[in-house]
Each structure stands twice: as C-alpha cells, then as structure tokens.
C-alpha cells in the first residue's frame, strides 16, 4: 500500500516494537509450550498483532480495556509488562494475576486492564460498564470492548451495543475478525455480516487488520470521535489467525489462503519504514534483537519466580474479610 501519511518516526517505531514484542513472545510461547512449562491453554495471536497495536497506540492508561480469551496481544499492546505475562503462564506468584488467572485471565490496573474473561462475549458488556462509569462521573476515560467475530453471535453483543447507543456512552467496540470460531468459518456461524449489524446501533469504521498503519489510522479517527463526545463507535478489523484456536501449532485451515509475507503485519510495516526512510534496515534488526533479549529476560524471570504456596488458598477464601 502506498502511503503519504504524516506518521511520526516515534509512533512508527513504537508500533513496530509492540508488533515484534507480541510476535516474538508468542513464538517463544509456541516453542516452549510442548515442554509443559506453561500448563494453561494459550490462544496465540500470531498474524493478528496489527489490531491491538494499532488501537492501543491511541489509548491511555486510564482507558479501560476488557478482553476475551485471546489476551496476550491486546494486553501487551496496552502495556502489560512481558515478565508478568510469562510468570502468569508459568503459574508463578509474580504473574499479573498471581498465578490465579492463567493465560485467559490477565489484569494490570496500572495500564487500564481490569481483567479478561474466557466466556466468549460477556466481556463486551464490561467495556460498556466502564463507559457508563466514565459518563456518570464525568471521567476522561473510554471503555473498550474487545472481541472476535464469533462473539457477535452472542446475545450479550446486541444487548451491549444497544445500551451503549441508547446512552451514547464513550465506548469503542473492537471486532478482531479472524473469520474463525475455533474451527468454524464465519459463513457457518453468521447469517449476516457483522458491520451491517453494528451499523444499526452506531457508526462503524473498518481497517485492514493485517496492516498496523490502517488500524492505527482508523482507530485514531474512532477514538478521537468518541473522546469528542460522539458516543460509541464500532471498529471492524478483518485479520488472519495463523495458529490453531488454542495451542502452539499452526492453523491448518489458514494454510491455503495465507501468505506469510503478504499477510504479515510486521513485514508490511518494515517494508513501509524502509521505503519511506523512517528507519534503516540496521535499526529494524536492532529492534528485533532488543525484543528478543526482552523475551529472554521475561522467560528467565518466570522460571526463577516461586510458585504460589498451596496454603494460600486457605488464606484467601473468597469470603474472608476484605483486605485493608
């Protein structure tokens, strides 16, 4: 794609670094996963990195992002420190959820991640609640509801869009549309297209979910309009899932239609950066190497962290008096 964008070098390098962080962390997880050091179901997002990275560049720490089960990409894009993610996957007490959450339940209050859910659809409503809270107290934050194409089949999707639209809440709905519900293609799970559905309730914008600059532009527009008080917006990002729904293996369904160069968000961005002169090949290589060291350090941190003592369960029963 030819671009005449006024993308700043700082933004461009931020985007690349986050894309690589998610990609290289995911590849490391895939590599280590067969050894069972991470005894938790992982839903990798290799190939889909452009969506969270392009959106989160426009979000602030105070904006509240609610995720589904495919957490790693959006959580890292929003700011979850990588060591805390790896420690959580390793079931360690230093994990972002202290070893109680696993891959599907990550939280980082400092970076506006109040939690994620493994039941498809439900967390869409929580982002609406964050938007309602913002509107009720005159807050400056947005609620962000993050979900895949299959979640739009759940009743909670319609209920949430309806309520956000009725009350004109500051909520961004991000549909990361990888066209697959586990192994079921979209044509088998949706009788109508998602954007027409959403358009009944609110303005929609579409971006190429394999191109971070496309997502960055459209997300920027959507978020600016929400911050300006226009009410909720729906951002639809068709993308490609390279891996199986769960686990470390490549997705056999995608093999026929997938071009690992043409469809790669990192490849696209790097090509653009070199052509436009925003970065040199040497700088790109340096970023990749930096990120790889970061992944090494995160894995080391996880490996060296202690497991939570089983006695902790007794001490933290749900109905103990609240901590001071």
């Amino acid at each position: 794609m030819e671009r005449t964008t006024t993308l700043q070098r700082a933004d461009a390098l931020w985007l690349l670094r986050r894309l690589r962080l998610i990609r290289q962390a995911s590849e490391r997880i895939a590599k280590l996963y067969p050894s069972n050091v991470m005894a938790t179901p992982v839903h990798l997002c290799i190939g889909q990195e452009a969506v969270p990275v392009g959106v989160c560049r426009h979000l602030r720490d105070t904006d509240k992002l609610f995720l589904g089960h495919r957490t790693h990409g959006p959580a890292l894009a929003k700011g979850l420190p990588l060591p805390k993610l790896f420690a959580e996957l390793y079931g360690r007490t230093t994990g972002c959820s202290h070893g109680f959450g696993g891959s599907m339940h990550v939280l980082d209050l400092e970076h506006g991640l109040p939690g994620s859910s493994a039941i498809v659809g439900g967390s869409i409503a929580l982002g609406v609640g964050a938007g309602l809270a913002s509107k009720l107290v005159g807050g400056d934050w947005l609620g962000v509801s993050w979900f895949g194409d299959a979640a739009t089949n759940a009743g909670v999707f319609h209920e949430s869009l309806n309520f956000a639209a009725l009350r004109r809440l500051p909520v961004l709905f991000v549909c990361e549309d990888n066209g697959l519900s586990n192994v079921m293609p979209k044509a088998q799970h949706s009788a109508t297209d998602i954007v027409s559905l959403a358009r009944q309730f609110m303005p929609t914008l579409a971006a190429d979910g394999t191109d971070v600059l496309s997502v960055y532009e459209r997300a920027g527009e959507a978020i600016a309009r929400i911050r300006a008080g226009e009410g909720p917006m729906f951002l639809h990002c068709p993308t490609k899932r390279w891996m199986k729904h769960q686990g470390h293996e490549p997705c056999d369904l995608a093999a026929a239609t997938l071009d690992r160069e043409r469809d790669c968000p990192i490849h696209k961005l790097e090509k653009f950066l070199c052509r436009s002169g925003l970065a040199t090949r040497a700088e790109l290589a340096e970023i990749a190497a930096d990120v790889e060291s970061e992944v090494d350090a995160a894995v080391r941190f996880a490996e060296q962290s202690p497991f939570p003592p089983p006695g902790l369960l007794e001490a933290c029963r749900a109905l103990e008096p609240p901590r001071p």
Partner: protein, 332 residues
C-alpha cells in the same frame, strides 16, 4: 435482641431508606435495572429517591446489564443492580456466576467488586413457576457471592448498607411477602455484619434455623403455639454462621431447618449436613428439613396451599420433634 429507639418502618421503607442514605453518603453509588426509574419505584423500594439522576432504567437485557454494572464497579463506582423478580437473575447467570462471582478469585483479589445485586424474591399470588422462586440456595453454591436474605426491616437496612460498603459482590434477596411487615428501624445509617445469626425466639427444646420469609413464619409458629424452640435467623445464607448454629444445637440437642427454596443441595440440606459433620454426637433425633417440593411452583390456590409450607405446617413439624425428644428423654 429486637432493636428499639428508632421508628416503625415497613421492610420496603427500610430498604428504600438504606438505598437513599447509601446514595447520599457516597456519590459513587448508583442504581440501575429494568424499571428502576419507572413511576412504581420498584414496588416502592426506590420511590422518590433524593438522587434520581443516579437511577438508570435499562432495556430487558439482564445479562449484559449485569456485565455493565460489573464494568462500572471495576471502574470505581458502586452500582446497585435491581431485579423485580429473582427469577430474572437466571437470565444473567453467565454474568453472575462466571463474571461477578469469579472476578476477585481470578485475579487474586487485586480488584474490588463493589456490586450489589438486589432482587425481589419469592411467591406472589398464583404467579406460577417462573415468578415465585427464591433461589438463595442456588446462588450460595457459587463461590464468591455473599447472599443476604434479611427477614426484618432492621436487618434489611443494616445489611443493605453493609452490602453497599463491601468490596465484594452481594446478592441481596428481599422476599416480597415481607415488604409490608413493620419493625423498629433507627433513622441514622448503620451496618450489620454478614455471617451472624440473630435469635428470633428463645427456647431450649430444639434449634430451628430459618431465614427470610421462612424465619418470619417460624417466629409466628413458635409464638402462637408457645413452642420451646430457639429460632436462629442466619440473615446471610453465605457466609453462614455455622458456629452460632452448632453452639445452639449443642445446647438444645435437636435441629430443624425451614427453607422456602428447593430441597436438593439447598440451604436446608447444607445446614443439616454441616451440623451433622460438626455435632453428630449432639443429635439424638435425625435433623428435619422442611422445604418446597422438588418441582416448579403451581398457580392454583389449592395447589399453592399444598406446595408452600406455612406457620401451621411448621408448628406441626416442631411439635412432632419436641414430642419425640420428650419420649426419647423419658425412655432413657
């Protein structure tokens, strides 16, 4: 002890006062729910509140609205989500059981979930199987929920204010047949702790455990028939004051549980099992639960009379047990 020094209020007015005071004390408190803002004021329990701008009506979307309330709670507010019937809670079961109840456990309590879900529970008149359920037993089975079932106006106000103040999610079930009961309620705000029994009738011959409308019916049965029974109302099904119940059973040597809810794996079964574990040696007679039958509620008045326990049936059960105790005592 029965409270004194306040004024007589209905159960409904006590809850209304608690909501109004909670909203006045803390600007983060707001109410949300289907028909929350309509002219009937949720059977009067939310009529003429001082902060109507913080009362939000919703579409019939109980599941998403529970998620919305949770999202607001996670964003620093303190929502009160109201349901006109406890049966409607089942529409929101995904959000209540998978989200609200689990959120603190999934993240090791790093985040507060200050959410009160209130529902008007129990039978009406000929309302049938989908508008008469109480369901406290079902919800108490889910880890992470506090389940409050007050039987008096005093308890209703104190427990409600505690629920709003608490950083854990609370399911607050108000039996509709208690709405017109009156009792002494202090005018100022006060809280009551969760998980503490209240003695509603004193006696030595038998320990009787009951909560919500069943507690009120038990009290009537004890008073009208002059029964030698210690009646305990746990006031919260979860957390449950087992220590208080077991101590009483050790004093009296007999246990009956009256529970206006379904029998299988329910509140009565839990109390019987837990007391059996802790004080089997103190029970010469088998403990007796009295509950609804294991089937949905009927509508016809005649069938309702057969379905629902009442003070007379409770008194008959208690008399049988007291007689059996006396016989066993004279035989030994």
């Amino acid at each position: 002890m029965a409270p004194t020094g306040g004024r007589d209020l209905t159960y409904c007015a006590a809850i209304r006062e608690a909501i109004d005071q909670a909203m006045g004390l803390d600007p983060r408190v707001f109410c949300i729910g289907l028909d929350a803002d309509d002219r009937f004021g949720v059977f009067g329990s939310m009529a003429n509140l001082s902060h109507p701008e913080r009362v939000l009506g919703t579409p019939i979307s109980e599941n998403a609205m529970t998620g919305v309330a949770l999202g607001a709670a996670l964003s620093g507010l303190r929502p009160i989500h109201v349901h006109l019937r406890s049966d409607f809670l089942l529409v929101a079961m995904d959000q209540i059981a998978n989200y609200v109840a689990k959120w603190r456990d999934m993240f090791h309590g790093q985040v507060a979930v200050p959410l009160v879900i209130r529902a008007i529970a129990g039978r009406g008149w000929g309302c049938g199987a989908q508008h008469s359920q109480t369901l406290h037993g079902l919800f108490a089975q889910i880890p992470g929920l506090i389940v409050a079932t007050p039987s008096t106006p005093y308890d209703a106000k104190g427990l409600f204010l505690q629920a709003v103040k608490d950083d854990r999610p609370v399911l607050f079930l108000e039996h509709r047949w208690l709405y017109k009961d009156t009792g002494n309620v202090p005018a100022e705000p006060y809280t009551l702790p969760f998980g503490q029994c209240r003695v509603l009738h004193e006696g030595q011959g038998l320990t009787l455990v009951a909560t919500s409308l069943a507690a009120t019916h038990c009290k009537i049965a004890c008073e009208q028939h002059g029964l030698d029974v210690e009646l305990l109302d746990p006031r919260t099904v979860k957390p449950l004051d087992l220590d208080g119940i077991v101590a009483s059973v050790r004093r009296t040597g007999a246990l009956a549980v009256v529970d206006y809810d379904f029998p299988f794996g329910g509140f009565a079964a839990e109390v019987v099992a837990a007391v059996g574990e802790r004080a089997f040696d103190a029970l010469p007679l088998p403990p007796q639960p009295l509950t609804f039958p294991d089937r949905g509620m009927p509508a016809s008045q005649v069938l309702e009379r057969a379905y629902y326990p009442d003070p007379e049936r409770i008194a008959a059960l208690l008399r049988r047990m007291l007689d059996a105790r006396a016989t066993a005592g004279s035989a030994s």
